[in-house]
Amino acid sequence: MSTDDLEPVEDFRERARVWLAANMPPNIDAYFDRTDERRTVEDQLQRRLWDGGFAGICFPADYGGLGLTPAHQVAFNGEVVPYDMPYSLNVPTLGILAATLVDFGSHEQKARHLPAILRGEERWVQFLSEPSGGSDLAGVRTRADRDGDVFILNGSKIWSSGAYAAQFSMCLARTNWDVPKHRGLTMFLLPIHHPGVTVEQIRQVDGSMEFCQEFFDDVEIPVENVIGEVDDGWTVATRLLVHERMAVGGGSQYTSGRSVGHGGGGGDDNDLIDLLRARGLAGDTDARRLLAESHARRLVARHLVERVTGGLRSGALPAPAGSLMKLFTATNQARRVEIALTLAGPEAVVWPADAEGATEIAAGIGRATLGRQGIALGGGSNEIQRNIISERVLGLPREAAADRDVPYKDVRHGSR
């Protein structure tokens, strides 16, 4: 079907506006709610989108999607702001894993899973990082050994958000130790609640239990669960990371409404304004300028995402330019948290037992500082993003690597 045959974007927008008003509940700012109850609500919201014919706008029509264009998705995103949406499905399920499945899944994999994902019946996560080191992603040591029609998986993955509440994963494992590290990897479609898979939750500094570690003990994976080609998992992983940067930046064509971890400068400045007024700083020049800086940074982030996602889509920017959004989101957020901490004063660290209003805002800022570096580490650390930008956007010389062109079995690893 050529683009000419598609429903015009403005007609689609109008139809969506009417349908959303009649069918979706109002926005309750539940972006960061990670309870089981909330997850159930979001799965139901996704089902409602599916039943209304508004799920998977850019997903292929052959696999349950609408087969429309990014312009339709952007129009839809403009209309959903007032409504409650299944935010946590956007990242990673829809924007990262389902998107990668569209690119590399077999017909059977896509037919079985994409419609189920779009109906709100499956949550997915990626199993990439390992306890032995996260930045050297291609250096994974989880092994999958071929045994007839199955691979036998052994090893461990870590830092997978929400794996305990997901059903499926993409798992990167080493299938060939006799070739250099990037060439011996394979991506697998792995059910999480599967014999031999153990999931443990990790307690974070802010008390949350989102991150998980997984242990694999002789897990059998059928050969048909390979995503892409055997020993070509790095190609799949690289594309997965491109989708991740787009989705976390807020520029994915596969997500509807705001994404959690969205670096696109969403939200507003109301908390800081309330705080300033409550602390009697609304007339203080230094405080006003800090507020202005925080506001400016929010808008700059939003427009950087707009520029980079547009440039990636049109080809004006190379795919690794997605790292610009990731790096800015992290460093910009760090500075904005510092500004908020400055404006909040002592109540950010010591608060009344029954904190509410401005004192609760201040306490929230204090708690936010504890996890500030999380966004600078997850999805590729700032240091890795700077490597990517300098080497693959600017074309500067690659770092020397002791493991290049060496069979992976001969590469030293771990601590001495």
């Binding site: 507020l291 707009e306 440039g311 700077r386 300098s390």
Partner: protein, 369 residues
Amino acid sequence: MDLELSEDQALLAATTRRFLDAESPTTAVRALEHDPRGFDPTVWRKGAELGWTSLLVAEADGGGSVSGRGVCDLALVAEEFGRSVAPGPLLPVNVVAEAISRSAGERLRAEVLPGLLDGTAIAAWAGPMPVTADVDGDRTVLTGRIPIVEAAAQADHVLVTFVDRDGTTGQALLPTTTDGMTITPLGGLDLVRRFASIDLDGVAVAPDQRVGDDASADDAIERQVQVAAVLQCAEVAGAIDQVFTMTVEYLGDRYSMGRPLASYQALKHRLAEHKLTVETCHAITTAAARAVADRTDEAADLASVAQTWLGTHATELVQDCIQLHGGIGVTWEHDLHLYLRRVTVDRATHGTPEDHADRIADLLLGAAS
């Protein structure tokens, strides 16, 4: 540069770049250092033929944009000016030409606009800060000092803002030869951008010299501030883009201890951060240009956000690129200082980053009491 240009816009940018490369290389910029005018009138007139002065002027007045968004088109020209640290009164002439086209009477449009459009006349913009007006019936008399006005000593006309004893603001376009007007050239950092102070001592304003009326003056002045912000930011974005490109090339070519400087991770990571700064500067400038062109509710906010962002980050970027060049970076011979001069002057004129932060805070919180 905006990554989503129409064919006509891309052509305007490319034509301007080729023209400036040929007619205004940095050797020509340096040669104008002691020229009292600071620009070559012949080059300026040829540039006017390319559209440098007409993009914000209505078609009925002999102007016209290439994309329907004149501010975005002109921002492309300003960016090329920054890229080649070009001389010439681009910002004041365009701000004033738009103001005349939009709200001046027939006489000014007929007598002043054609000269501005073909590049034979120059206009200065005295900015939003008002001088004092004494009104007595039809007679308005201006008194006061405007300390820094770009191209005032080179201009034929100057657009002045005034406020009367009742607090009513207005604007008038006055010949720079008006009785009671004293224009004093100033020195400054930029080799070719000229500034002067203007003293008004009982300068009479005739009704047909007024631009706009009392009711529209505040909006018109705000519009001028926004257009000036976009043009200045676009120029700075073009300048830092060029400096960054020069620096990446230099670090790739220069070897130290047997390897290119660009292979050292400490330097690569700095260049990555600078790339990010260049991209954020382009992104916010493009957003501001579009909002100002379309007169959206966000125009004032985005214009000042762009000014705080570029004002704060551009000078730091250029200074660190000088650091990355080593000793050659602080010589007269190398062109880097031309760019440092330009972005440093831009940072401190048409509102400092702090002034624009105060404007943003006013929008968010209401004016400070």
